[in-house]
C-alpha cells in the first residue's frame, strides 16, 4: 500500500473516529481513573444492545431506508421472553419463541415495503405502533420479572476475561460484516442501495432482497433484545424506546451514507462508541443530567454536519 492510499484511507475515516480521540483525551485529562479496564468494559457493556441493533439498522440504511420499528421490537421481545418464562416455559423454548417475534416483525416490515410499496419510513412507523401494542398487552403496561440465572451469566460472567454479552456483540459484528462482505446477501444489500436496477438485470428480485434484509435486521434486534433483557434483568415495554433513532444516528455517524449504498458495519462501531463514550464521560465528570441531553444533541448534530461537509468536499 502506498503512503498516498494510506493517507486517503485515513482521510475517509468517519469524523466519529476523530471525535472519539478528542473525547478520550479530554475525559482522560479531566476525570480520575478514566483509562481503566473496568471503565471501558462498562462502556462496552452499556453500548452492546445499541450496537447490535445498529448492526441491523446499518443494513437498512445501506438500502436507503430507516427502520423505525426496532425500538418497539426490542420492547416486544424482552416482554414476550420474560412472560413466556413466567408461564414456566423452559429457556430453550421461550427464548427462540421471543426472538422469533422480532424476526417475524422484521419479515413483515420487508413484506410491507416490498409488496405494498410503502416507503420504509412509513411501513416501519406503522409497525412500531403495532409492536408497542403487543409489548403493552403482553406486559400489561409495566415491567415483567422472572428469576433466572441466564441474566447474570450473560451480563456479568466472563469467558477469557470478557463478559459473555460482549462475546455475543462481537459475534453479531462479525456475522454482519461477513454477511456484507463475503456473501451474496451482502452484495444484494449494497446493490439495492446503489442501483436496484443492477439487481434486476442480474436476475434477482429486489423485493426478495428487501424482505431478506428486513428479516435479518429483525434477527439482530432479537439478539439485542436478549442482551438488553439480561442487562436489566426483566422485560420492559418501554426499555427499547429511542433505540430506533439512536441506532440511525450511530449508523450515520459511522459514515454510512443514506445514498448509494456506501458504508458498512465497521463505521457503525465508532458511531455507537461515540455516543456511549460521550454519555459515560459526562457521567464520570459529574455533569448534571440537566445538561447532558443538550450536550449529546449538539455533539451528535455537529458530527453529522462534519460528516456531511467532508463527504461533500470529497464529491467535489
Amino acid at each position: 500500500m502506498t503512503t498516498k492510499s494510506l493517507g486517503k484511507r485515513i482521510g475517509s475515516l468517519p469524523p466519529a473516529v476523530w471525535m472519539i480521540a478528542v473525547m478520550l483525551v479530554f475525559y482522560g485529562a479531566n476525570t480520575k481513573n478514566y483509562f481503566t479496564a473496568s471503565n471501558f468494559i462498562s462502556i462496552l457493556i452499556q453500548a452492546a444492545p445499541l450496537f447490535v441493533v445498529a448492526c441491523g439498522q446499518t443494513i437498512i440504511v445501506l438500502m436507503q431506508g430507516t427502520d423505525l420499528s426496532l425500538g418497539a421490537s426490542l420492547n416486544m421481545m424482552t416482554v414476550v421472553w420474560v412472560v413466556l418464562m413466567q408461564k414456566s416455559l423452559p429457556l430453550s423454548v421461550a427464548l427462540p419463541l421471543a426472538m422469533g417475534t422480532s424476526v417475524l416483525a422484521g419479515y413483515l416490515n420487508g413484506l410491507i415495503v416490498a409488496k405494498m410499496k410503502l416507503p420504509p419510513f412509513i411501513a416501519t412507523l406503522g409497525m412500531q405502533n403495532i409492536l408497542n401494542s403487543v409489548a403493552l398487552v403482553a406486559s400489561n403496561g409495566s415491567s415483567v420479572y422472572h428469576e433466572h440465572a441466564i441474566y447474570k451469566i450473560i451480563a456479568k460472567s466472563s469467558f477469557l476475561g470478557v463478559p459473555y454479552i460482549l462475546w455475543i456483540t462481537i459475534g453479531c459484528f462479525f456475522l454482519t460484516m461477513v454477511l456484507l462482505k463475503f456473501t451474496r446477501f451482502g452484495a444484494r444489500v449494497i446493490s439495492m442501495g446503489g442501483n436496484p436496477e443492477s439487481l434486476k438485470v442480474a436476475g434477482y428480485s429486489p423485493d426478495l432482497a428487501t424482505i431478506q434484509a428486513f428479516t435479518y435486521t429483525g434477527f439482530m434486534t432479537a439478539v439485542a433484545g436478549f442482551l438488553l433483557a439480561c442487562r436489566v434483568e426483566s422485560g420492559n415495554p418501554i426499555v427499547g424506546n429511542g433505540f430506533e433513532f439512536n441506532s440511525v444516528a450511530a449508523v450515520l455517524l459511522g459514515g454510512t451514507s443514506m445514498r448509494e449504498g456506501r458504508g458498512g458495519v465497521g463505521g457503525t462501531v465508532f458511531g455507537v462508541l461515540l455516543i456511549q463514550i460521550l454519555k459515560n464521560g459526562l457521567v464520570m465528570m459529574n455533569v448534571s443530567s440537566i445538561y447532558q441531553t443538550a450536550i449529546i444533541g449538539i455533539v451528535v448534530l455537529f458530527a453529522i454536519m462534519l460528516d456531511a461537509y467532508i463527504k461533500r468536499r470529497q464529491e467535489e
Binding site: V178, F182, T183, R184, A187, R188, I190, S191, G193, G194, N195, E197, S198, L199, K200, V201, A202, G203, Y204, E260, G261, R262, G263
Partner: protein, 504 residues
C-alpha cells in the same frame, strides 16, 4: 460470406398504450457480424432490442434462435439462451468493486459454504478484463472511483462473463468521449472475430462505417430496409431514416439578424470541462454548437445560465455583464434554457401543464403573490394553442404527455417568462420525427420573431439543418466556426472528432 443467421425476427409487433412501437418488424443477425440498428428517436430500436432480450414480450410475431422458436418471459431467459445486453445507462453499483459488479448475484462461492470466493472472483474478473485488453483497471476499488470509460468496459466484461453468443449494445458510446471510443471499437471488433453476433443500437452516423457490417433502418416502428454498410451514402441513409427529403424536415427561413444578444469571452469552469469559450449570438439568429458528448457543451450552458459559477471569463446578455450571477438574475435579463434531460431538469412531471407553464414566470404573472388558477389555466391554454401542444386539457400532469409535447411545455415555460435568448440543449432527444419537425418550425418562428437561439446537439444533421452559424466545440474549447451551407456533414463530423480547423 453468406451464412445462416443465428437470430431471426419475423413480423414482430409490440404496442404500448397509445403507441404502436413496433409494427411487423423483420430482422436477422449472423454470427460474427455487427448489425447496426438505426432510426430516429422513437423509431423502435430500443423496443426491438428489448424484445430480443426478453425485457418486453412481443404482442405478435416470432423470434427464432438457431432456427428454433423462442419465447422469453424475462431477461433471465435471454441470458440462459446466450443473449446479453450492455445498456445505455450503466448498471454499475457504485460501492461494489469491478469484480463484484461483473459477477453480481453469480459470485463464485467457496465450496461447502455460502461465502464468496473473492480471490477467484478477482482472478476471473481480471481474466475477462485482460481479454478485453483492460487489465489495468483496478478491480479492487469501488467502481465509483473509476472513470466512465472504465465502467463501460466493466459493463462489457459483465456481459462477456455470461459467455454470450449475441450481445446487444444499446448506445454504448453515449457516455464515452472520442478518446475512449476507438479503443472501445477495438474491443467490439475483437468480439466479432470470436463469432459473437452483435446488435448495435446507435444514432451516431459516424459510427456506422467504423464498426458496422450491416444496417437495418427502422422508422416509426416499421421495418424499412436492411442493407450493407457502404451501400448508401450518408444523405441517402438519413433520408431513409427520416422518411422524407431532409430539406423538408429542416425549415429555416431567412431573417435579419440584429444586434448582439449573448456573448461569452474566454469562459472557463472549475472542473476543466470548459476551457476558454468565446461565442456570440445575435437576435434573430440560430447558432448551433456541434460537438461530441463530453466536449463541454452542456457545461458551458450551465455556466451561462448561472447554475455553475465560472472560474474565468465573462458573459454578456444584451450587452450587460451577467458573469457569475444566479439563475434568477440571468433569467430576469431574458435568458432561458431547455435542459438536455427534460424529465430530470426541465419539468415537474407530477405537476400539471398549467403549473409548469408558469413555473418561471410566476412572479411576473402574479405580481401580487396571489395565484389565480383560472388565469394560470388561460395562459397555459394560450401556449397550448400557440405551440400546438396536443393535450385534452392543461390540468393533467405533464408526465402523461409524449416527449414532443413535453418539450413544448418547456418551451412555453420560457416563452411565458418572455425569454428572448434561449439555449436549446439537445431539443429533440427522444422525440419522434413528426414532433421534431414541429419543434424545428417553432425554433424557426422564434428566430423570425427576433429571439436568439443557441442550439446544442449531437445530431449533426439537425445542427446543419437549422443553424445560421455553427461553432465546433472540442475538449472545452471552440475549435471552429462555419456559416450555414459552407460545410458538409462529413467535414463537420471530422472537425468534431479531430478538432481541426474546418475552414480556412
Amino acid at each position: 460470406m453468406e451464412q445462416q443467421p443465428i437470430l431471426t425476427v419475423r413480423d414482430l409487433s409490440k404496442s404500448f398504450p397509445g403507441v404502436r412501437a413496433l409494427d411487423r418488424v423483420e430482422f436477422d443477425l449472423r454470427a460474427g457480424e455487427v448489425h447496426v440498428l438505426v432510426g430516429e428517436n422513437g423509431a423502435g430500436k430500443s423496443t426491438l432490442a428489448k424484445c430480443i432480450l426478453g425485457m418486453y414480450q412481443p404482442d405478435e410475431g416470432e423470434i427464432h434462435l438457431h432456427g428454433e422458436k423462442v419465447c422469453f418471459s424475462s431477461p433471465k431467459d435471454g441470458i440462459a439462451h446466450g443473449i446479453v445486453a450492455v445498456y445505455q445507462e450503466l448498471t454499475m453499483v457504485p460501492y461494489l468493486n469491478a469484480a463484484q459488479n461483473i459477477f453480481l448475484n453469480r459470485e463464485p462461492l467457496i465450496r461447502g459454504t455460502g461465502l464468496i470466493n473473492h480471490r477467484k472472483m478477482q482472478r476471473d474478473a481480471k481474466a475477462i478484463l485482460a481479454s478485453l485488453s483492460c487489465a489495468d483497471i483496478d478491480t479492487k476499488i469501488p467502481v465509483k472511483l473509476l472513470d466512465v470509460a472504465q465502467q463501460q468496459m466493466i459493463e462489457i466484461a459483465k456481459a462477456l462473463s455470461f459467455k454470450p453468443r449475441i450481445i446487444v449494445l444499446d448506445e454504448p458510446t453515449a457516455s464515452l468521449s472520442e478518446r475512449e471510443i476507438e479503443p472501445f471499437f477495438e474491443q467490439v471488433r475483437m468480439l466479432r472475430e470470436q463469432g459473437i453476433g452483435i446488435i448495435y443500437v446507435s444514432h451516431r452516423m459516424q459510427e456506422y462505417h467504423r464498426i458496422g457490417d450491416r444496417i437495418t433502418v427502422l422508422r416509426d416502428g416499421k421495418f424499412i430496409r436492411t442493407l450493407d454498410v457502404g451501400e448508401l451514402g450518408d444523405e441517402e441513409l438519413v433520408n431513409l431514416m427520416v422518411g422524407r427529403d431532409i430539406s423538408q424536415v429542416y425549415v429555416r427561413t431567412k431573417n435579419e439578424h440584429s444586434g448582439e444578444a449573448l456573448r461569452t469571452e474566454e469562459l472557463r469552469d472549475h472542473k476543466g470541462r470548459v476551457n476558454g469559450c468565446s461565442i456570440t449570438l445575435n437576435r434573430g439568429e440560430i447558432v448551433g454548437i456541434a460537438g461530441l458528448v463530453g466536449a463541454g457543451r452542456t457545461e458551458m450552458a450551465r455556466l451561462i445560465f448561472g447554475i455553475d459559477k465560472p472560474a474565468g471569463g465573462k458573459i454578456f446578455l444584451h450587452g450587460k455583464e451577467v458573469t457569475g450571477k444566479a439563475p434568477s438574475y440571468v433569467v430576469k435579463n431574458g435568458l432561458g434554457l431547455l435542459p438536455e434531460d427534460r424529465k430530470r431538469y426541465g419539468l415537474a412531471l407530477k405537476s400539471s401543464i398549467a403549473w409548469n407553464t408558469v413555473a418561471v414566470s410566476l412572479k411576473s404573472v402574479f405580481p401580487s403573490g396571489i395565484v389565480s388558477e383560472r388565469k394560470n389555466r388561460k395562459i397555459a391554454e394560450e401556449y397550448v394553442r400557440l405551440l400546438k401542444t396536443s393535450t385534452p386539457d392543461v390540468v393533467r400532469p405533464v408526465s402523461q404527455l409524449s416527449g414532443g409535447n413535453q418539450q413544448k411545455v418547456v418551451i412555453a415555460k420560457w416563452l411565458s417568462a418572455k425569454s428572448d435568448v434561449i439555449i436549446f440543449d439537445e431539443p429533440t432527444r427522444g422525440i419522434d420525427v413528426g414532433a421534431k419537425m414541429e419543434i424545428y418550425a417553432l425554433m424557426d418562428r422564434l428566430a423570425a420573431e427576433g429571439k436568439a437561439i443557441l442550439m446544442i446537439s449531437s445530431e449533426l444533421q439537425e445542427v446543419i439543418g437549422m443553424s445560421d452559424r455553427i461553432y465546433i466545440m472540442k475538449d472545452g474549447t471552440i475549435t471552429g466556426e462555419v456559416m450555414r451551407n459552407e460545410c458538409s456533414l462529413e467535414e463537420i463530423g471530422r472537425a468534431m472528432v479531430l478538432g481541426k480547423e474546418v475552414l480556412a
